[in-house]
């Protein structure tokens, strides 16, 4: 009988592990507490494939970052995920900071980072003319890149699914127990038995780990808040612009998104509730204040939105990856904060190979290739658009007018192997609603398409699952309830 493997957590790490393991003959299930994959840290981060100069040499972060970043470009090409080697700069505004840049350069060389050099003010301003002219030096890192974190996660999940991995959503794992040679996972929706468990549960990973291991770990949810600016400000920066790092992380940065917006952030605030993605006036003020040092003519008139993401910081400060100590058959990837996205392909590969070896998993003969889609309609030439329409008239129906997303693309996003089931799921898979009107015009139509595709009533459609229903009642129901209240 095939071994039953349960992966807990549908973030970029869980999905990377699932995809790698789907190359082996096993019965694999990924369980996720949210309604979709990529609903935690993977949906709200800086979207960077870090070069790897700022990790402590010898750490897991250093090792997996370098390996992962090197794998990402080919992986993104294979999975049709947006990726761009846009380069990065770490700015220094005085001699003390310049000294730190030299330390980072040394550390980067030890870590095996390619394409780094220290550059002076003139070169910085030539490359990035909007930089504060008070800058004195920068570490210029050509190998740094940008990747769309949620699009990568969706594509990893799809590829895993077409190769046989099952996905079970709205399923929060509460406890892991050993029962003879198996694990029993108790969840909100029944028990799940497993021969092998892989804990990729993000901010919830410590709670599960500590149930099966004597060597305790502590995760602190660390919140980072961001501004997203409209693509009207696109020419402002092409590189990812860091400032000299502090002990709380790589600091607040400015980076162009892969869709030509500009992202400013993140802050770093330790919080207790790992699901608290609220923004605060104080943190947003901090983002403005710090980024204005890099970009003195900072223009926030074109803010599209503000948001926050949570990263899982482990007390030891490093990734914990591998077999769980004292719990044979259990594996984990814990404390996956930055550079987690960069490291994800390497973590997935490492864990899959480790598990395959320790449990004698047999590699499958063939592997289903990832599903292929047309590029976004918006990016096509006019002839390509005409051709896309000739094959599918739903390419003629533009639903999201800001980003030019067509009905064909929205339906495809819902019909993908791990398809969208919510308005936010459609938004992140297609960009419908991500533009300057923030879904004001297209969300009613997106909801209709979701209700058609998923056979839901319109008022059962949610923003992001759970109790996030968008419409509370049909008019006749609402009127009836109103009457009741007055009675």
């Amino acid at each position: 009988m095939k071994q039953k493997i349960v992966i807990i957590g549908g973030g970029v790490i869980g999905c990377a592990v699932a995809r790698e393991l789907s190359a082996y003959d096993a019965d694999i299930l990924l369980v996720e507490r949210a309604i979709d994959v990529s609903e935690g840290a993977s949906k709200a981060n800086s979207g960077l494939a870090h070069a790897g100069f700022d990790n402590k040499p010898g750490s897991n972060k250093a090792k997996f970052n370098i390996q992962g970043s090197k794998m990402l470009e080919a992986l993104c090409r294979e999975l049709s995920v947006p990726y761009k080697r846009n380069g990065a700069m770490v700015l220094a505004f005085d001699d003390t900071q310049t000294a730190v840049l030299h330390e980072l350069l040394q550390q980067g060389m030890v870590n095996g980072v390619d394409g780094m050099e220290i550059i002076g003010r003139d070169r910085i301003l030539a490359l990035e003319p909007h930089t504060n002219p008070r800058v004195v030096a920068a570490l210029h890192v050509k190998s740094a890149a940008s990747v769309s974190p949620y699009e990568l996660t969706y594509a990893l999940a799809d590829h895993a699914k077409v190769n046989g991995v099952d996905f079970q959503f709205n399923t929060e794992v509460r406890t892991i127990k050993r029962d003879l040679n198996r694990f029993i996972l108790t969840t909100c929706c029944g028990d799940i038995p497993a021969d092998i468990v892989i804990n990729c549960a993000g901010v919830g990973a410590d709670m599960l780990h500590n149930q099966i291991s004597e060597r305790k770990v502590t995760i602190t949810p660390r919140k980072g808040e961001y501004y997203l600016l409209d693509r009207e400000v696109k020419p402002m920066f092409t590189h990812t612009m860091f400032q000299t790092p502090t002990k709380m992380g790589k600091g607040i940065l400015i980076t162009p998104t892969l869709h030509n917006g500009l992202l400013l952030g993140p802050t770093a605030t330790d919080i207790t509730d790992g699901t608290d993605v609220s923004t605060t006036a104080e943190a947003l003020r901090q983002v403005r204040e710090i980024t204005s040092l890099t970009w003195p003519q900072e223009n926030l008139k074109t803010v599209i939105t503000t948001f926050s993401g949570i990263r899982a910081h482990e007390a030891g400060g490093d990734f914990i990856i591998g077999a769980v100590e004292g719990a044979p058959g259990a594996y984990e990837a814990i404390g996956i904060e930055s550079p987690g996205l960069s490291s994800s392909p390497a973590i997935g590969q490492y864990l899959a190979e480790l598990i395959a070896e320790q449990h004698d998993l047999r590699r499958k003969g063939t592997r289903v290739p990832p599903p292929k889609y047309l590029p976004p309609f918006e990016s096509m030439t006019v002839e390509e658009k005409a051709k896309a329409y000739a094959n599918d008239p739903e390419y003629g129906a533009v639903v999201c007018r800001c980003e030019h997303i067509t009905e064909a693309e929205i339906r495809a996003a819902i019909r993908r192997p791990v398809g969208a089931t919510t308005v936010d799921g459609v938004k992140r898979r297609t960009r419908a609603g991500m533009g300057r009107c923030q879904g004001g015009f297209c969300s009613p139509r997106v909801m209709e398409i979701l209700s058609e595709e998923l056979h839901l009533r319109l008022n059962q459609v949610t923003k992001s699952g759970g109790n996030s229903r968008i419409l509370l009642a049909r008019i006749e129901d609402a009127a009836a309830e109103g009457d009741d209240r007055h009675a």
């Binding site: 939105t305 948001f307 007018r401 030019h404 009107c437 004001g440 969300s443 996030s468 009642a473």
Partner: protein, 429 residues
């Protein structure tokens, strides 16, 4: 329609006057252009049916100026729709313009016709406006379901027949927000308050009376939403009073338990295409810079209605757009009057976003209507037109408020006296 192959290899359709948008602006422009004798005329609209936002405005109050009658939005639209039918004007619905260039080549896509390329002699931009979303305000807090722009909520209620929620706070006192306050109450919801950050409402006075006062909904001036709570669905918002710098005053916070927040915090002309074609833009109106024939700086490209500047009343949108339709027809038919000279029209003290921003002098001058918004509430003031330092024209106004568009009609003979390179309009005490 005559067709030829263009540079891209796509078949091109020649059109004399191409109108983008079939809301009240596009409809009025099309009617006027046809009545002026334009045969080759086409309106493109991205919605399934013509009429624009009027379709979802089921309340009354439309048409008082134009028809001296109180109509609902759909009734008002129907009059123009009927006239368009009588005149046999072609409209392509569900058609989205995806590209436009200064040679007046317009690329559109639709479910029915696929990708089409039009080559127009004149273009009238009539795309209307959109609502400022929550994200643009950077309100702190969570991002749950239950936050809607007022117009989106209006569409959901009036067109799709669904209630967004039952306990409602309204942020901003724009007209759509005020209308939706009443609409939600009539559908059985409870509207707790309408918070407006400014010391005055940006909506029409009649809407404040008929939609808030008549239903005992408090209008909290100098208040704004400073926090949003609820992880999945909205649970509550915190409203606070603001100081003269619009910063929240500690200790004035009130928390309202609610499931819905409607935003009516400003309308933004939808000028993506206007920018794409390369028209000069005005920072004050967020629309194109136009002359007194509503022509942009690009020859043969006109703009009218809410895409040019956000109006309060549809009646004035129709009036302005008819003028644009006539001007586009004149342009195509070679009847455009010879321009002796053109001067700039600038915002003076107290004046925001005057339209038109350029004045063309022709051999047969006509009176010119200038529209603008005052920067605050004024009582018993004069609106003056300055030619250099000289007051060339002055009109007394009893009350001016940013919530209502102000206008002055400059007589043609006054124009003849202008000697400067630019004139300005100001509010004087």
């Amino acid at each position: 329609m005559p067709q030829r192959k263009g540079m891209t290899g796509m078949r091109e359709t020649n059109i004399d006057v191409l109108i983008i948008g079939a809301g009240p602006a596009g409809m009025a422009a099309a009617i006027a252009a046809r009545e002026q004798g334009i045969d080759s005329l086409l309106i493109l609209d991205r919605e399934a049916e013509i009429g624009g936002i009027l379709k979802q405005c089921v309340h009354n109050g439309f048409g008082l100026h134009r028809f001296q009658e109180e109509l609902t939005g759909p009734e008002y639209a129907q009059r123009d729709i009927n006239r368009l039918r009588e005149l046999n004007v072609s409209v392509h619905c569900e058609t989205m313009v995806i590209d436009i260039d200064a040679s007046k080549r317009v690329t559109a896509v639709s479910r029915k016709h696929g990708v089409q390329v039009f080559l127009a002699k004149a273009i009238i931009l009539a795309m209307g406006c959109r609502e400022r979303p929550r994200g643009a305000l950077a309100i702190p807090g969570t991002r749950p379901a239950g936050i809607f722009s007022a117009g989106t909520a209006q569409k959901l209620v009036n067109m799709q027949g669904y209630m967004p929620g039952k306990r409602v706070i309204i942020l901003g006192s724009g007209d759509i927000g005020l209308i939706m306050a009443r609409r939600m109450i009539l559908q059985g919801a409870k509207v707790l308050a309408c918070a407006e950050i400014m010391p005055y409402s940006s909506g029409l006075n009649r809407n404040i009376v008929q939609c808030l006062h008549d239903y005992d909904i408090p209008l909290l001036l100098r208040h704004t939403v400073i926090d949003i709570q609820g992880k999945e669905r909205l649970e509550s918002v915190t409203v606070a009073k603001v100081d003269e710098h619009l910063q929240p005053i500690p200790g004035t916070e009130i928390q309202y338990a609610c499931d819905t927040l409607l935003l009516s915090v400003g309308l933004i002309p939808e000028n993506e295409l206007t920018k794409l074609i390369g028209a000069e833009m005005s920072a004050a109106t967020q629309g194109a810079v136009v002359d007194n024939t509503l022509q942009t700086n690009i020859d043969g490209v006109f703009a009218c209605g809410n895409v040019l500047h956000v109006h309060d009343l549809v009646d004035f949108v129709s009036e302005e757009s008819a003028k644009a339709g006539r001007a586009a027809a004149d342009y195509v038919l070679g009847r455009t009057k010879k321009v002796a000279r053109a001067i700039a029209v600038l915002d003076g003290p107290g004046v925001r976003g005057v339209v038109p921003q350029r004045l063309r002098f022709t051999d047969t001058p006509e009176d010119v209507r200038f529209m603008f918004r005052p920067d605050k509430v004024y009582q018993k003031v004069k609106v003056q037109v300055l030619d250099g330092e000289r007051v060339a024209y002055s009109v007394a106004k009893r009350i001016l408020s940013p919530g209502e568009m102000a206008e002055i009609l400059l007589p043609a003979d006054t124009m003849q006296s202008f000697s400067s390179e630019s004139i300005s309009i100001r509010i004087s005490g």
